[in-house]
Symmetry: C2
Subunit: 266 residues, 2 copies
Amino acid sequence: VLVNGAPGAAVSALDRGLQFGDGLFETMRCEQGAIRWFGRHLARLRAGCERLGLPAPDGTLLRAEAESLLAGRLRAIAKIIVTRGVATARGYAPAGDEISTRVVIVQAWPGAMAAEFRVGLSPVPLGCNPQLAGIKHLNRLEQVLAQQAAVRAGWHEALMCSGAGDVVCGSMSNLFVLQGTQLRTPALTQCGVAGVMRSLVLEIAPRLGFAVEVAPVSIQWLSEAAAMFVTNVRLGVQAVHWYQGRRLEPDPRCAQLQELIDGTLA
Amino acid sequence: VLVNGAPGAAVSALDRGLQFGDGLFETMRCEQGAIRWFGRHLARLRAGCERLGLPAPDGTLLRAEAESLLAGRLRAIAKIIVTRGVATARGYAPAGDEISTRVVIVQAWPGAMAAEFRVGLSPVPLGCNPQLAGIKHLNRLEQVLAQQAAVRAGWHEALMCSGAGDVVCGSMSNLFVLQGTQLRTPALTQCGVAGVMRSLVLEIAPRLGFAVEVAPVSIQWLSEAAAMFVTNVRLGVQAVHWYQGRRLEPDPRCAQLQELIDGTLA
């Protein structure tokens, strides 16, 4: 772990990242000593900083710090946290003179997923707030509660609905539904995180002949879907084998999509 | 600052409080070396722990730690943070074997408020999630954004609306609207924090002849209200002098209410 470039894992208890979740993070796939799709991660981090009124992060520095920790690992997860920094005044309002804190963590690549990926509909809703939607900020209690419930239910991932009742995304992934040559994923203008793997799928799926649409996914419509997959940089394009106890046939185009994405550098 | 009872302000960057806002806090008024209304704060903290699946905190210990830092100050703010602790596994799901982190901070009592308390309607909405409503968890980005905007607007407090469009509470306070002998405050079942000062007002206002009701406050209704006040343990019963640029006459019963509450020990 590096905190502001120095080895060690200590952060001040007065950091606004702890006090209020006032910050952002990125979780990145690393392969052969390098971060994959770093430009996309940095773009989202920058968008988040702009939304929260944080200074733009130094991408070159963040990348160098993360890659310095990889030490030749074949595969790893790198996590970057950027907060507004140690509070210089009491209360929610930033004083404006805080110095941003950056934390870089490298973790072992997790073990392989179960052969059959089980997904269910979470009892935990996603609160709607357009000003926080799409970005990967540190307020993640909804996801924590959703995964707690998912573990109890024996699911690998929990799909979450907005207050309006539509399915928006997974607790740690984005959702895509396959219907013939149509590929649908929900908009993330009210809640949810706009994943880097989602952006790759949106760009690359048309090459396989998919008509991609960003459109609402109702619970009813999803319950009748023939095939679906979820995405994040760890799972890649993860076909769903079980949804709410119903068996789905994984679509062979998931693997083709995965292959094309794996070959995409930027 | 005490972290797990030891002097020093260092918390692990792997603490789930920082990683996900996975925890709770209390901000308490201290007078003459003692925390006011500690039982109420502890009750809310316990309710929050139950909601998040955290172990029940040791109230005697927390109180003793906070009061040990007061060192004879006439007045101060004590803040307690309780998190799920350092992550023992990657990802949102708690592993279940984390050891809760507790942070106790004592801060100087803030300076007096301006004589005229200015309030406006925030452009930042509150996301709705019944599972997180009412408790004082660490996911406070909405409040941070609301106060950022309030400072720019020259307000002392920003009132926030739920997605449904009703006014729910202030960014750091609860809202009460006075209409004759009627006193109304919004329900906090979808969003908002159930303040300790709010609970005191709800209990004590009937002694002054108020009929207290927990009911929706629409933007329209609020724009026509004759008098309103906001509450938290720092401000107490704070009359609103200006709402959206409209001058309000502070009701003398605010001061009476304040006096009764100040005399309430538990």
